[in-house]
Point group: C2
Chain length 214, copies 2
């Protein structure tokens, strides 16, 4: 990260002892020392407008667009002048879970060969960040953020979910799959910050109406 100028590391639910030791070690990089720790992915990406997941090509049902690294990075670079972007890496053994992936707007993959698609985590990060700066320095954030943050999208998702339950569209105990489906729908809609407030107002009113009739 530091080699390519990326200084903001957020770590979700790390193995506590190893993480603490790594941070306090002599010679630990400033990236590691300043790394922020979260219990849940949701909290770690709450202020990010674009969340991009990394994955291999195989072994996963994909319900989101998947781009080759080079194309994905092009899309990220165009966003960077106005938005905070999160790039998600899973654990080395299992990668990102399906729930993690449902929090991403889209996914990208490194073009590894079919016979050996899964990469060492540190090497995958290095390759992605190299691609990020290959065509020049990162654009600085200058414009005001216009897209909804992940926090706003999460509130829309929660209220929509509640409204769908209250209306009987979803059962009282909806499956994890249906929650993921709703989350992905809201991510696909490309809601901006103002629209997310509008949608929240609509959903609150709908919920109030349904409940007042019960």
């Amino acid at each position: 990260m530091s080699n390519f100028g990326f200084m903001n590391l957020r770590v979700v639910n790390p193995y506590a002892i190893a993480f603490r030791e790594a941070r306090s070690a002599v010679g630990a990089s400033s990236v590691l020392k300043k790394a922020q720790e979260y219990q849940e992915l949701r909290e770690a990406i709450v202020d990010c407008a674009l969340v991009v997941g990394t994955t291999t090509l195989r072994n996963r049902q994909r319900q989101q667009p998947l781009y080759r690294l080079e194309e994905g990075v092009g899309r990220i670079r165009r966003k960077l002048s106005s938005e905070r972007v999160a790039l998600l890496f899973g654990s080395e053994k299992v990668g990102l879970s399906n729930e993690d992936l449902s929090r991403c707007q889209w996914l990208m993959h490194i073009p590894t060969r079919e016979m050996h698609p899964s990469m060492n985590l540190g090497q995958a990060v290095a390759v992605c960040l190299y691609e990020m700066i290959r065509s020049g320095k990162l654009p600085r954030r200058t414009a005001e953020t216009k897209s909804a943050s992940t926090g706003q999208l999460e509130r829309v998702t929660d209220l929509l979910h509640e409204a769908l339950q209250a209306s009987g569209y979803l059962g009282v105990a909806p499956s994890a799959t249906s929650v993921s489906k709703i989350r992905r729908l809201v991510r696909r809609l490309n809601v901006d910050a103002a629209d997310s407030e509008l949608l929240l107002g609509m959903l609150r009113q709908i919920l109030w109406k349904i409940r007042s009739q019960e």
Copy 2:
């Protein structure tokens, strides 16, 4: 290496115990199992027509062309259809020595930031090999090799060196620097396989003449 389809690893003077253990470990990659071991860099590159060194931007007097990774890889790809190419990485701590570098036709560097130029070895290799396949599969070697191999260049270097000593151009105990200078000169000349035989013939004759007059 395996992720990006590079299967020929040559290891020079590795830490023997660690290397033997790594190779015989359960789950060791086929790249590692098939890795060839050499005592000297010279032996490891003897059949390669193009030898490219990797280095950081700082801390070294450079007497060879130095290209940014992307440009260097373009040059390598154009060679690959006719030549065997060696890509050299030094140890993580000190990189390639000046003597190692003198065996390279040219050098390339990964565009890391000035404040933190030196990379983890595995990550540097991953980034370089990713760049090698980014624009598509590697060209297969189809044409006959025309460039001189490193072995042929080494013989030209040795004979030229001998001739320069015999002629008095170099002292009887020439410094490592002057040997390196000769080596780099021969690498710059872009000698092809046929010319290297021609040069060897000339040098042998010159040496014979000088010695017969003594």
